[in-house]
Amino acid sequence: MEQYYFHSVTLDTSKCKGCTNCIKYCPTEAIRVRNGKAVIIKERCIDCGLCIRICPYHAKKAVTDPLESIKNYKFKIALPAPTLYGQFGPDYTRERIVSALKQYGFDYVFEVARAAEIVTNATEYYMANKEIKKPVISSACPAVVRFIQIRFPNLIDNLLRIESPMEVAAALSRQEVNEKYGIPLDEIGVFFISPCAAKVTSVKAPYENRKSNVDGVLSIKDIFLPLLGIMKKQGDITSEPFSLSSAIGVSWAVTGGESSAIKEGRRIAVHGIHSVNDILEQAVKGNLDNIDFLEVLACPEGCLGGPLVVENPFIAKVNINNEIAKIAKNQAHRVLPKHKDVKEFEWKSTVEYRPIMKLDDDMMKALEKMNMIDVITEGFLGLDCGACGAPSCRALAEDIVRGDAKETDCIFKLREKVNSIAHQLHQIESAGSMSDDNK
């Protein structure tokens, strides 16, 4: 049965010019240009959104739920990602943003940052277990988890088996609302406000193969102007002690936030999918065995650099750091009472290897195909120019062997063949005129 793939990252073909920028940057070589338009290979795409950022014609975009979809539910819960707090500037504090969400139409706001603190706490309990494989690799970034599933299956066992803050927030908020206000569970809609395309995919097609706790994902880009409009008209807001999260939770939006929340141990934070690739290569070689925790984020500057943000990530970082500075440190770690068990937040199922790079299920055929790829690659010029629509000469050779392309997609090969045909025609023509002379 053919696997169904959902991807948030999609192409608007009307804007695509068939340039070759995206094919070169994609970390899994998931894009090709065919018939003048980009095509995303569904099995390889990890929804990291790098192509969205790179495309000079804005032809790549992320599919998210429209703002109107919140109307499908009687009781609407908003889960703002902490990235949201960095989008508006110093006059717009967390309190105002949260209040604006309620004015927009949400009945309840549960900060994802609060759930991030819970995950931090659970992570500390998890790390205290001596049996776990080091380095423990953060699983909060869905693009990185998918990247590991495809490219680094040996690191699957290193993944932190704790739910992401988004899922924890969704589960807890739904429970809270149901218990506190008696709203039936099926009338509650939980919406994540996201900087990230990969989160959309992880809600609609979870890799853990179980249903997400989230009902819909709204893009920060979509909700930015409505919220700004509301805040401009806000008077003084009565600051309900809205159980706002602490500095630790908010700092997850910035690279280094998640790992600095862990009090002890050697921890490193890496952002940007290509840097993540490099550090994971090191991990697989065993060079990181004395590192306890590896925070890995696909976007530059962490979630602040996601494809769905409005503000420049460097500016957003300053905004977030300002908010963090205002927060009292004694609000930290107050959420989990001692008897709460880590098990509640652990993954219930596992993440599996996706061997999509395999050339053939039959190993002998795969070996033959590998040799064919070598022979074809050697026949190319090695420029990796991208004119054929593949990211490199070797990638085109692989496409040819998989039956998705032909040798004359390479314009140099085509030119060679045309020259050869022209030469043959010329020979036929010269042979013909000699016999005319003899008449």
């Binding site: 070689k285 190993m363 002998m364 795969a366 070996l367 033959e368 040799n371």
Partner: protein, 141 residues
């Protein structure tokens, strides 16, 4: 078309920042062929350790790799100083690495024993001043 994949790599002398490229490359090939991840891991550890040995002890060398549907055979050879006492060298923790190498975090003395742990057949041919050749075989099943 042959169903044996052959690769030859040059292992640079003393540049351990780029050492490990050969084993990375082999790892990718094995994944594309469909070898199980745990066997890919054993192979890449064994090969990486042998590669690093050639870099820091052997003054660089060559790697010759042959892959068929049952196994991978890796032959790493160098024309370096050779191993004087092989039995001693195989002991965990024993190292002849100079201080300059140890300061960089290598030379823990675990290389040869790691190779032995992660390979199915290991053979080492060496003699003082005549270089060293390491033959590693890992089976896919």
């Amino acid at each position: 078309m042959s169903s044996v994949v052959v690769r030859d790599y040059i292992i640079p002398a003393n540049d351990f920042t780029i050492a490990g490229e050969a084993s990375s490359n082999v790892r990718k090939i094995l994944s594309q062929i469909g070898v199980a991840p745990d066997i890919v891991k054993r192979t890449s550890i064994a090969m990486y350790e042998a590669e690093i040995n050639a870099v820091i002890h052997g003054n660089g060398g060559q790697a010759h790799v042959e892959i068929d549907e049952n196994k991978i055979v890796i032959i790493i050879s160098d024309q370096g100083p050779g191993i004087a006492d092989l039995e001693l060298a195989m002991q965990e923790g024993y190292s002849t690495a100079p201080d300059s190498i140890r300061e960089m975090g290598f030379g823990a003395g675990m290389g040869l024993s790691n190779i032995k742990k992660n390979s199915d057949i290991l053979e080492i041919k060496t003699a003082v001043n005549e270089g060293t050749t390491v033959y590693i075989t890992v089976f896919f099943k």
